[in-house]
């Protein structure tokens, strides 16, 4: 096991895959000469040259579409969005082309493409630079959506995403790029898409959290341990397809569930999880499913407001105690 930063784990996945398969290329703003806005692709242009690591103008719609065209003809593009906020100008390409053309062509053309970049809160950048997009892309059949919380998952899942023959939305985090963690050095380490990870076992409550929210879930679980309760923490890792079995099995054991998600609340992933839980384990629930999300407002700039805006471990802890009827 090597200890890597999240950005290094992502890079390791890219490099292993690009070494293996000549059809893979990386494209995006500042990925080549600048070595990546967040240094994910550091050194990759040197290694592969500008044929395979390609800087673009600020034309997200154009280069997302270019990637899709290349994928339609058999290449395997990895398209980096500097952040997912900037992909809204390419939204039509992802929704109407990536997700739907395979279907409309009766399965003739497929899209072995990965769109990746940091998602969600990134500090005091205000409303346009802090959107969480997992729920929005997961709405659309035709896409797969992955959101990672640590270097090991990042490596194993990005390798899977790159090999997958369907379009994958791969969500990282500015805040976590520098985070270190053990990464398997198994040969060709692959984590299958669609499998959640039980990060911690327990029977008192099920807490579900992905990406940064996973860490809030873990912190809350620690706090509950001090109170004498063991929470089960699940990192879904893949948002679409979602691993319902793992979640439902857990809820059948704990009989209560708290979801942590940095998204705005309305019609989000947490809503869907609540729907599924009440639908699949109605009689097992001892309390309503609760969620801890960002506030139902745009993200502010001021530091104190940003802290208030985002889900905190405290919030999660309180929600757990609430569904456990402790307060």
């Amino acid at each position: 096991m090597a200890e890597l930063q999240l950005r290094e784990a992502i890079r390791a996945a890219l490099v292993e895959e690009m070494d293996r398969d000549e059809d893979i290329f990386l494209m995006g703003e500042e990925v080549a000469e600048y070595n990546g806005a967040y240094k994910v692709s550091e050194g990759m242009c040197d290694r592969y040259g500008d044929r395979r690591v390609i800087d673009t103008p600020i034309s997200e719609c154009g280069f997302a579409g270019l990637g899709l065209g290349a994928a339609m003809d058999g290449l395997r593009p990895v398209i980096e969005f500097m952040t997912w906020n900037f992909a809204f100008v390419a939204f039509d390409q992802i929704i109407n082309n990536a997700a739907k053309i395979r279907y409309m062509s009766g399965g003739q053309f497929s899209f072995p493409i990965v769109f990746r970049g940091p998602n969600g809160a990134a500090g005091q950048l205000a409303a346009t630079h802090n959107t969480s997009v997992e729920s929005i892309y997961s709405c659309f059949p035709g896409l797969k959506v992955i959101s990672i919380s640590n270097p090991d998952d990042a490596k194993g899942l990005l390798k899977s995403a790159i090999r997958d023959n369907d379009p994958v939305v791969f969500l990282e985090s500015e805040f976590m790029y520098g985070m270190r963690g053990e990464v398997s050095d198994a040969d060709d380490y692959i984590i299958p898409i669609g499998k959640a990870r039980i990060a911690r076992e327990g029977d008192a409550v099920t807490i579900i959290g992905h990406n940064k929210s996973y860490w809030r879930a873990m912190e809350a679980a620690e706090m509950l341990t001090s109170d004498g309760y063991e929470a089960e923490v699940i990192d879904p890792r893949t948002i679409r397809p979602f691993d319902w079995d793992t979640v439902i099995t857990s809820v059948k054991k704990t009989n209560r569930c708290v979801i942590v998600d940095e998204s705005n609340p309305f019609a989000s992933l947490s809503s869907e999880i609540a729907f599924q839980i009440q639908s699949r384990s109605f009689d097992d629930l001892d309390a309503p499913v609760q969620r801890v999300t960002s506030k139902d407002t745009p993200a502010p700039y001021a530091k104190n407001l940003v802290e208030y805006y985002l889900p905190s471990a405290e919030d999660v802890y309180r929600a757990c105690r609430e569904v456990m009827y402790l307060d």
Binding site: I54, M72, P241
Partner: protein, 368 residues
């Protein structure tokens, strides 16, 4: 493009001051009608017969599908290409089958038939049947053929323009010397995707030819009501792309222009072609076409690319009227057979709704 600078005098509010004048010059090619003969293009009489037959096939196929639409055998939107057949056929004659690629918008029957997709699979698609070129999942706007390198059939205006750059990128990446012809309407020029894709294509020197099929209208909007600059070929200046203006009612002009542009693309120089044409039918089946006069329509019908080629053939004694009539009969028979084929092709089973969403065959869809 040359840039010249010279001193000029001008007046502003306060006093006489002088700025400089920068003059820029750009040159484009124009391929007018009636300029090129079949022998200029090195086409044999057999080729001419093929070209004529191909254009006629598109015409008859669409006339028939309009009829079938009336009988509700076909649903959704049906956008007819009638009047524009010289573009599809002329340009397909300029590309290398099996190597080169085409992609277009929703007015796609013409290109599909020109590139060699069968009437059967096309008509079955319109009927929404399993033997359709897209298994009945795409319909009129979404004809695809991987085999023929026909990358669709796209319904969102402008959305396929970046895809074309990507297909060209793949050709270049593999270094297979293939090129892409990307067709788009005059209305699609005003989507941002056009701007972004053309800049990328030029920046990366991608082997693509963008072909604006300027049929004078986008739905009911005449070009000069949508475009601040109505000479659409000039758009190339912004991307340092060579451009041409082509008479789209003359299949030879189109073919010559597209050969020249394909050659440019094969050398790594993307370019832009504006082809002036006309659509004889409404935008789609529901369009009464009140935005144009009967006179305009009648006048344009005199330029009909099929009649024009017919006259050329007769005037130059290349084929006899009877020979052409035989072609007409053949084409009609082919189209009729395609209707029978489509009508007899089975409906998809309902469970097929879950097929073709993903390559992954065991994808767990939500069922409630």
């Amino acid at each position: 493009m040359a840039v010249k600078t010279k001193r000029a005098a001008a007046t502003n509010g306060q006093t006489d001051v002088s700025f400089d004048i920068i003059e820029t010059k750009s040159t484009f090619r124009s391929y007018p009608g009636d300029r090129f003969t079949h022998s200029d293009l090195g086409l044999s009489v057999a080729d001419i017969g093929d070209i004529y037959r191909n254009m006629l096939l598109q015409r008859r196929f669409e006339e028939r599908s309009a009829q079938m639409y009336g009988r509700q055998k076909i649903g959704g939107f049906l956008h007819l290409y009638i009047g524009q057949e010289a573009i599809s056929t002329g340009s397909v004659y300029a590309l290398q089958p099996g190597l080169d690629s085409v992609i277009t918008a929703y007015r796609d029957h013409g290109i599909a038939l020109a590139i060699g997709m069968s009437s059967n699979e096309c008509m079955a698609e319109l009927f929404g049947r399993v033997d359709g070129c897209s298994k009945g999942k795409g319909g009129s706007m979404h004809f695809f053929s991987k085999e023929k390198r026909m990358f669709g059939g796209h319904g969102i205006v402008g959305a396929h323009i970046p895809l074309a750059a990507g297909i060209a990128f793949a050709h270049k990446y593999r270094n297979d010397r293939g090129v892409v012809f990307c067709y788009l309407g005059d209305g699609a020029v005003w989507q941002g995707s056009f701007h972004e894709a053309l800049n990328l294509a030029s920046l990366y020197k991608l082997p693509v030819v963008y072909v604006i099929e300027n049929n004078e209208y986008a739905m009911g909007t005449a070009v000069d009501r949508a475009a601040a600059e109505t000479d659409l070929f000039k758009q190339g200046i912004s991307y340092a792309m060579p451009g041409s203006l082509v008479d789209g009612m003359d299949v030879f002009s189109v073919c010559q222009a597209m050969r020249d542009h394909a050659a440019l693309a094969r050398e790594g120089q993307p370019s832009l072609v504006e082809v002036r044409t006309y659509r004889y039918r409404g935008h789609s089946m529901s369009d009464p076409g009140k935005y144009r006069t009967k006179e305009e329509l009648e006048q344009k019908k005199n330029e009909d690319p099929i009649l024009r080629l017919k006259s050329y053939i007769i005037e130059n004694d290349l084929m006899k009227v009877e020979e052409l009539d035989v072609l007409d009969i053949e084409v009609k028979a082919e189209v009729s057979a395609s209707v029978t084929f489509a009508d007899e092709s089975p409906l998809s089973p309902l469970e097929a709704i879950y097929d073709d969403v993903y390559t992954q065959t065991d994808f767990p869809f939500l069922t409630k």
